[in-house]
Amino acid sequence: MGKRVLLIEDEPNIIEAISFILSRDGWTVETHANGHDAVDVVQGNLPDVLILDVMLPGKSGYDILRELRAHHGQTELPVLMLTARGQSKDRDLAEQAGVNRFITKPFSNAEVLDAVRDLGEA
């Protein structure tokens, strides 16, 4: 039983791709596809690494991360954020929210895999 990754993402094809890559590396991948109850899902079953999309239905990735860090004491939870909006102000927003890694789509599979490994080992 490897370490667990929780992937919050709404684009089915991307879910499929990331699940495939991480599973092959021995990770247990769980997924969730909307922002509404994402915080509760994380809280209910804390993963080793959280992968968070920004543009989610219901609630943005920034808001979810802020809530986790500020209101639920999840200051140590390693978070990797993925976004299709690649402007510098999006990176700033993510860092303000307390992200550990920030990767812009489209990404290379190796890049995501390395990031998750780093975060999982820390």
Partner: protein, 892 residues
């Protein structure tokens, strides 16, 4: 006996002598040798034109008929000079500061420079003075008559017309020799001063002769007086008071008195002398009236005219020399009165009637000053002739039969109508032009109706019937018994009613009317003349404080420039320090400097305030107001320009805001596009890497991942197509391919395209094909694109178990409306506002669209001359398309 020719010759010589006096005085004045011309004595003597032939001859007649009553005619003016000298002083001060030329000018000026009022007063004065001039002509003619009868030459009696012509000529020659801005006539004043001496000397001589030559000394004469009827005459209090009031009013209001008292006044201080000297003169004039009357009544045959006792007594005693002296005295009285009255009236007539008319009928802009001068002189001359001739006409009409005194009093009463307005104007700021007009009109009308017209002679103007039964037969309008009050003598009757109604109307109308701003200013100037005593418009040194001037100059010119100006002036004057002496020269320099900044009038007024020697006059204020008006106009223009600027600035700001908004929108759009492009590319990259890097993939996995890459590539292509399409539509670069087609065919094509790849979606279309049979002229491909979009959206988003899209067609004239309504849950109200915006995806689920479809639809409909809107309250999602069946018709 004296031949008539000799008398005429004496007259002519006397006139020639007066000419010489006037000429010498005039020349001296022109040379600036005015010292002796300006003595208070000359001023006092010139006032004696109050004593006309009426006084000279008529007083004796008056005394013979009515006893001591004649003295009231002297008492009125004496009381004015002794007791009311401050009133006269006020008139003189106002006359000088306002540069008034006549009594009409005084009234017009006081009431806001109303020319209408000036014309009214002028007409009143002319009509009021006419009988008086007639009286002088009559007296001269009568005196000639006396000599003619004595020498038996009655047939060769010089007609009154010659006297009139002679007087007019003299007046024209001396009254209009030159045109002085101050309307001063030194020559004429000197001549009438000489005449005043002559008439006093003549009357005194006759008086002395009568008392000591005939009466047998003072004691005997006094006894004779006590014995005569005159001594027994009772004093009637009411009538005496009335007559005194009348003569006082006349003294103040007669145009000729205003001329000598105010206009010809050189120095206000002369009034001090005149205030006792003139009453003394009057006493001298009246001293021997009673003795002459008593002796005359005693001496002369019954029925002889007492008006001529002054002449007939010396003649009857064979004293021809004395008679001639006496004749010259009477002649002097008559001529001086006519001359001054004619000058005064001609000034009024030409200034207030002729010149305004002339100026109106000529192009005033093109007038050369020399022209105006000639016109004024001509107007004066014609006016003089006209005034004298009017007097002659009155003399002829009235037949010359009335007693001299009676005619004089008619005149006095007419002129006295001006008194309430003059007094009110001088002492009451509330007096208004309308009040003045009402008072004058009413008083003058009453006078005209009750005294003047009847005086011409019953039956001449007013018929006997009117006299006895009243105007229109109304008994209360009988000229000599207004409102049914009878028993008063006509003079007192008129005096009472005219002045009473005049005063009441003047005060009444003044109280209910409002003065104009100019009237207010002038009123304040007149009433408070002694607080505003200003003299000439040049600076007097002494009181000015250089330091105050410096402070003021700094405010206007700025500190540096003001200090430079002051120290320059100080150096020039050789004064140590930076403050120069406030010499007139420096004040003028400063005024010029300040004028450049604040305007001439304001500069003058400001310096005037500090120098203190003068205060601000009405003219100054008006000029300041003019400048302020110009400044205001200027600042209004500035404000206009600044408004224009701020309008431009606002437009720029709006344009900038618009640009910023567009820029923000563009950023958001790019960000959106980036997101929409990156998402499919992420899948493409990820899966292509998986296919490349992972060796042991099952065939099913390989196929699945390859088709994901394929689908995402198609999604990318569609997105790029949509973006380009939208870009073209938004920029208006789209070219429409207009054709005739049938609506039903378009809908068929759209349904086929949208539902072609039957992917298991169960969307059912509900249509009424019969209603769709509508010919349409439009771009069919574009319209079909919109239909496809709507059907696809419904297919993607309709949540109903058996999804159904109802397409309703309606037609109203050239307008077509299609509703696309499905049976899903519809679109939330807040989302309804944004669905037509780019990238506005409402649904949470992924449906493969980039959110550009409805934005494209909206652009297409706009190009096709119609619109697409969300239809509220239909339950499911509902869109309405409105469009013209013929796009070209709609375009028109």
């Amino acid at each position: 006996m004296i031949a008539l020719n000799a008398l005429v010759a004496i007259c002519l010589s006397y006139v020639a002598f007066l000419f010489a006096v006037a000429f010498v005085a005039e020349r001296a004045a022109r040379r600036g040798q005015v010292g002796w011309l300006r003595s208070p004595l000359v001023y006092t003597l010139s006032l004696s034109i109050y004593c006309t032939a009426w006084t000279f001859y008529g007083a004796v007649g008056y005394a013979a008929r009515s006893g001591l009553e004649y003295i009231t005619i002297y008492l009125g003016p004496s009381l004015v000079m002794l007791g009311w000298w401050w009133l006269v002083r006020k008139m003189v001060r106002i006359g000088r500061t306002q540069r008034l030329t006549s009594i009409a000018d005084l009234i017009s000026s006081r009431f806001g420079k109303s020319n209408l009022l000036a014309i009214g007063v002028t007409i009143l004065a002319v009509i009021g003075t006419t009988p008086y001039i007639a009286l002088q002509l009559q007296s001269v003619t009568l005196s000639f008559d006396v000599f003619a009868q004595a020498s038996g030459e009655a047939e060769q009696l010089p007609s009154a017309i010659w006297v009139a012509i002679g007087l007019a000529l003299f007046t024209v020659v001396f009254g209009t020799r030159n045109l002085d801005v101050n309307e001063r006539h030194h020559g004429v004043v000197m001549a009438i001063a000489v005449e005043a001496v002559v008439k006093l000397f003549a009357l005194m001589a006759v008086g002395l002769f009568v008392v000591w030559g005939i009466g047998g000394g003072l004691g005997a004469t006094l006894e004779k007086i006590d014995d005569s009827e005159i001594g027994a005459w009772q004093v009637e209090g009411g009538r005496w008071a009335g007559l005194m009031l009348l003569s006082a009013a006349a003294f103040l209001c007669l145009p000729r008195m205003f001329q000598v008292m105010v206009v010809e006044n050189d120095d206000e201080a002369h009034l001090r002398t005149a205030s006792w000297a003139f009453p003394t003169y009057l006493i001298c004039m009246s001293l021997f009236v009673v003795p002459i009357a008593v002796v005359g009544l005693d001496l002369m045959p019954a029925g002889s005219n007492p008006d001529l006792f002054v002449l007939t007594i010396p003649l009857s005693q064979g004293r021809e020399g004395l008679a001639i002296l006496s004749f010259l005295g009477g002649f002097s009285s008559a001529t001086s009165m006519v001359i001054v009255a004619a000058i005064a009236l001609s000034t009024m007539v030409s200034n207030h009637i002729v010149m305004p008319i002339w100026l109106r009928f000529t192009n005033s802009g093109a007038v050369v000053s020399g022209d105006v001068r000639n016109v004024v002189l001509l107007a004066r001359r014609l006016s003089i002739v006209g005034v004298v001739m009017l007097g002659y006409l009155y003399y002829r009409l009235s037949g010359g039969g009335n007693a001299l005194a009676a005619i004089g009093l008619v005149s006095f009463t007419g002129v006295a109508q001006v008194l309430p307005v003059v007094l009110g104007g001088l002492f009451w700021r509330g007096a208004t032009r309308i009040g003045a007009f009402a008072g004058l009109t009413l008083g003058f009308s009453v006078w005209l109706f009750t005294l003047f017209l009847p005086s011409v002679g019953t039956g001449v103007v007013i018929s006997t019937t009117v006299m006895e039964q009243g105007f229109f037969g109304w008994s209360w309008l009988r000229p000599q018994a207004l409102f049914g009050i009878e028993g008063l003598d006509p003079l007192m009757h008129t005096l009472f009613w005219s002045l009473a109604l005049n005063t009441i109307a003047f005060f009444g109308f003044s109280l209910v009317s409002f003065p104009t701003p100019l009237e207010r200013l002038q009123g304040a100037q007149f009433v408070n003349i002694f607080q505003h005593s200003s003299s000439v418009r040049s600076w007097s040194p002494g009181v000015a404080q250089s330091e105050d001037l410096m402070v003021m100059a700094q405010r206007i010119l700025g500190a540096g420039e003001a200090q430079a100006l002051f120290s320059r002036a100080a150096r020039k004057q050789g004064v140590s320090g930076n403050l120069p002496e406030p010499t007139p020269g420096f004040l003028e320099l400063l005024e010029r400097e300040l004028s450049g900044s604040v305007g001439a009038a304001t500069a003058h007024a400001m310096i005037g305030q500090i120098v203190g020697g003068m205060s601000v006059s009405v003219q100054d204020l008006m000029a300041v107001a003019d400048e302020s008006a110009q400044l205001m106009e200027y600042s209004a223009r500035l404000k206009e320009q600044s408004d224009e600027l701020s309008r431009t600035a606002r437009k720029l700001r709006e344009a900038n805001q618009k640009l910023t908004r567009i820029s923000v929108q563009k950023d958001a759009f790019l960000s959106q596009i980036s997101h929409e492009l990156r998402t499919p590319m992420t899948s493409v990259r990820a899966f292509s890497e998986i296919l490349r890097d992972s060796g042991q993939l099952t065939e099913a996995e390989q196929t699945k991942y390859a088709s994901i890459i394929h689908d995402e590539a198609i999604r990318l292509t569609r997105l790029l197509d949509d973006l380009l399409d939208l870009s073209v539509l938004e920029n208006g670069q789209v070219s429409l391919n207009l054709r005739h087609d049938m609506l039903r065919d378009l809908l068929d094509r759209a349904a086929a395209a949208a539902l072609a790849d039957d992917d298991g979606s169960a969307l059912r279309l509900r249509r009424d094909r019969a209603l769709e049979d509508i010919p349409i002229y439009t771009d069919p491909d574009r319209l079909t694109q919109v239909f496809i979009n709507l059907i696809s959206n419904s297919k993607k988003y309709c949540e109903a178990e058996t999804p159904e899209l109802h397409i309703r067609v309606g037609q109203r004239g050239d307008l077509l409306s299609l509703d696309f309504v499905d049976n899903g849950f519809g679109i939330s109200p807040e989302a309804q506002d944004v669905i037509f915006e780019k990238f506005a995806r409402v649904s949470d689920q992924k449906a493969g669209g980039a959110g550009l479809g409805l934005a494209i639809c909206r652009q297409i409909m706009a190009r096709l001359g119609g619109e697409i809107t969300y239809l509220k309250g239909e339950g499911g999602a509902a869109f309405r398309i409105d469009l013209p069946t013929n796009i070209t018709v709609a375009a028109q």
